[in-house]
Symmetry: C2
Subunit: 208 residues, 2 copies
């Protein structure tokens, strides 16, 4: 694990740059999530990584490139699940349940990256691209919902669009409270337990 | 409706103070939600309200007092629902469903105030008080869930704590995407339609 500091003075000696593109991205995403993307400067990233700004520029052209790589990683995970067999074959309701389950798993596996994606505001070109991709994902899921209603497998008394929003509101809330190691307020749940609870609640409801 | 501006120069003439405590609070909450509580100064509030800082101090002692009143209004709504007959009589599962329905209604009725409450971080005494009250509300709901499981009305194969988190993750997501007047991405739903969809999904599931 790379040694990191953010508290030191401006003249602290930079350590030797042993980062890979991936490990530097992990540091950047942690800082983006803590300070907000807009509130993060290259100076903040330099301090958090413990290397000079010119060393960072050796890896990436700009702060925005780090954002693009980070949200790209989250989006690749989400869209990747849509290409899997479980999302492409069978009845729409089962494909929908598969996608919801895989989305939970991607959220857990890529938690800081998806957290960043869900906080994107749209102030830069990269952010607007990320929002557009998110909308595309939502449309793909909404199509599954419509198809499942048409096939008679989803309740038709619920508004499909509202239900989709609520379903992903529930799933996306994970980034706010789920901590892989557990916390003072709750034991850790595995990705599988989470996915079971999400799909159980969403598709079959809480009532016995 | 009071005339408001935030773009004017620092020397623009202050308008006559026609605010009540409540209408000034509404302006403050809008600014808190837009800029973040930490990022809002009395100067920002003065510009948004179009009255001088000293006029604001005529209504409230501090920025923190505005926060306390605002989150207090949200908390009063939430805790108030726990005292209603539907939350106090009958089987636990029905009381739980009643509380979820009323929570949705309170969110819609007090949207900016609950939005602010859900964004509280814990940096000030008032914020820590609000977080403590939120935890108290969560415990009251968790007790209902446990009781409903004990009465055999909730599925026992789902982790009650996780399910409660997910349930409120879904409900609380409303503050991120629900707009009473609708938007480019969706028609407006009434509080009743929202509450029907939330309780239908959560208690009976999406499958037909």
């Amino acid at each position: 694990m790379a040694e990191r500091t953010e508290s030191g003075g401006t003249h602290e000696p930079a350590r030797r740059d042993t980062y890979t593109a991936e490990s530097l991205l992990a540091v950047a995403v942690e800082v983006f999530n803590r300070r907000g993307y807009d509130g993060t400067s290259m100076e903040h990233l330099s301090r958090a990584a413990g290397i000079s700004k010119s060393s960072i520029y050796h890896h990436v052209r700009s702060k925005e490139e780090l954002l693009r790589r980070a949200v790209g990683r989250a989006l690749d995970g989400l869209f990747g699940s849509l290409e899997e067999t479980g999302a492409r074959e069978g009845r729409a309701v089962d494909r929908l349940e598969y996608v919801v389950r895989r989305t939970v798993e991607v959220l857990v596996a890529e938690l800081p990256y998806v957290t960043l994606l869900l906080r994107v505001r749209g102030n830069t070109e990269t952010e607007r691209w990320a929002l557009e991709r998110r909308r595309e994902f939502d449309h793909r899921v909404a199509d599954l919902v419509k198809q499942a209603v048409a096939e008679g497998d989803l309740r038709s008394d619920l508004d499909a669009r509202l239900a989709t929003r609520l379903l992903f509101g529930m799933v996306n809330s994970l980034v706010e409270w789920y901590r892989p190691q557990g916390s003072a307020h709750g034991a850790a749940a595995t990705a599988e337990e989470l996915a079971d609870t999400v799909t159980g609640l969403a598709f079959h409801g809480l009532r016995a």
